[in-house]
């Protein structure tokens, strides 16, 4: 009986670890190009690739220091994210022109959504490129 319980525990843990490992693996290589490469506009360095709390790095190795990332808009109380202020929007756009995911910038969800809308509007009126740096 005890053996059966132990076996159940082992089998119970194994699928969890198996499911956690592949989920942790994609997050780190995806985050790596932004953390190590020319990404990080404005001197913003993320705490560690895949080390952000809330990411699926819970099951994976926790080697990196989890720096508390705060939302820039919430802290500075910037109300309106306009498509016209290119300088503000450029901080959230990578070098190739891609919009940086919020797990790297630390922006909260409602502000990220407004930011995305503003960036797309700016792209339409040629204030920001769709794809830069061939």
């Amino acid at each position: 009986m005890a053996d059966e319980d132990k076996k159940k525990e082992v089998t119970g843990e194994a699928p969890e670890a198996a499911s956690a490992a592949p989920s942790a693996a994609p997050s780190t290589p995806a985050a790596r190009p932004y953390g190590r490469g020319p990404g990080g506009p404005g001197g913003r360095r993320p705490g560690g690739p895949g080390g952000r709390p809330g990411a699926r790095g819970e099951g994976g190795p926790r080697k990196f220091f989890r720096r508390k990332k705060v939302c820039k808009f919430c802290v500075e109380k910037i109300d309106s994210i306009n498509y016209k202020d290119v300088r503000l929007l450029q901080q959230f756009v990578a070098e190739r022109g891609k919009i940086v995911p919020r797990r790297l910038t630390g922006v909260c969800t409602p502000h990220q959504r407004r930011l995305t809308t503003a960036i797309k509007q700016a792209r339409n009126i040629a204030l920001l490129p769709f794809a830069a740096r061939y």
Binding site: K77, I125, A126, L127, P129
Partner: protein, 134 residues
């Protein structure tokens, strides 16, 4: 009477026109707006800017921003006219009345919070004797 909405229309005039020709284009846009039943609140010439990508073989353009008020159908008419106008190479219309309402609400809350801070000292001292006597 159809409801008046506030919009922001930003358009780009081609850069190889002279000053007066650009002026003529802008005023013709304004007059077509008024014939469509739109009140032009503000016109801002943002000057010549470099475009983020090539639009119709141009690398820069004259940016003009109009803040207008009018019903939605009139804006559709204005957009159609802008599309036809040859010197205008790009335009974008953004509805801003909802955004302005939201900003006003946020600002009001913030102002009331700031004003509320010196008050609690008085209200607290005013409220304290009441329960004591009651």
């Amino acid at each position: 009477m159809p409801q008046q909405r506030t919009y922001e229309v930003m358009f780009i005039v081609r850069p190889d026109l002279s000053e007066e020709e650009t002026e003529r284009v802008v005023s013709s846009v304004e007059s077509s707006a008024s014939t469509a039943g739109i009140t032009v609140k503000n016109t801002e010439r943002m000057g010549k800017r470099r475009l983020a990508y090539r639009v119709r073989k141009f690398q820069d353009g004259m940016y003009v921003l109009l803040t207008v008020e009018g019903p939605g159908s009139a804006l559709a008419e204005l957009e159609r006219r802008l599309r036809v106008t040859e010197p205008v190479i790009k335009y974008i219309t953004v509805r801003i009345d909802e955004e302005q309402k939201r900003l006003a609400k946020v600002k009001k809350i913030r102002d009331s919070k700031v004003r509320g801070r010196p008050q609690p000292a008085e209200t607290a001292s005013g409220a304290e004797p009441a329960p004591v006597t009651a």
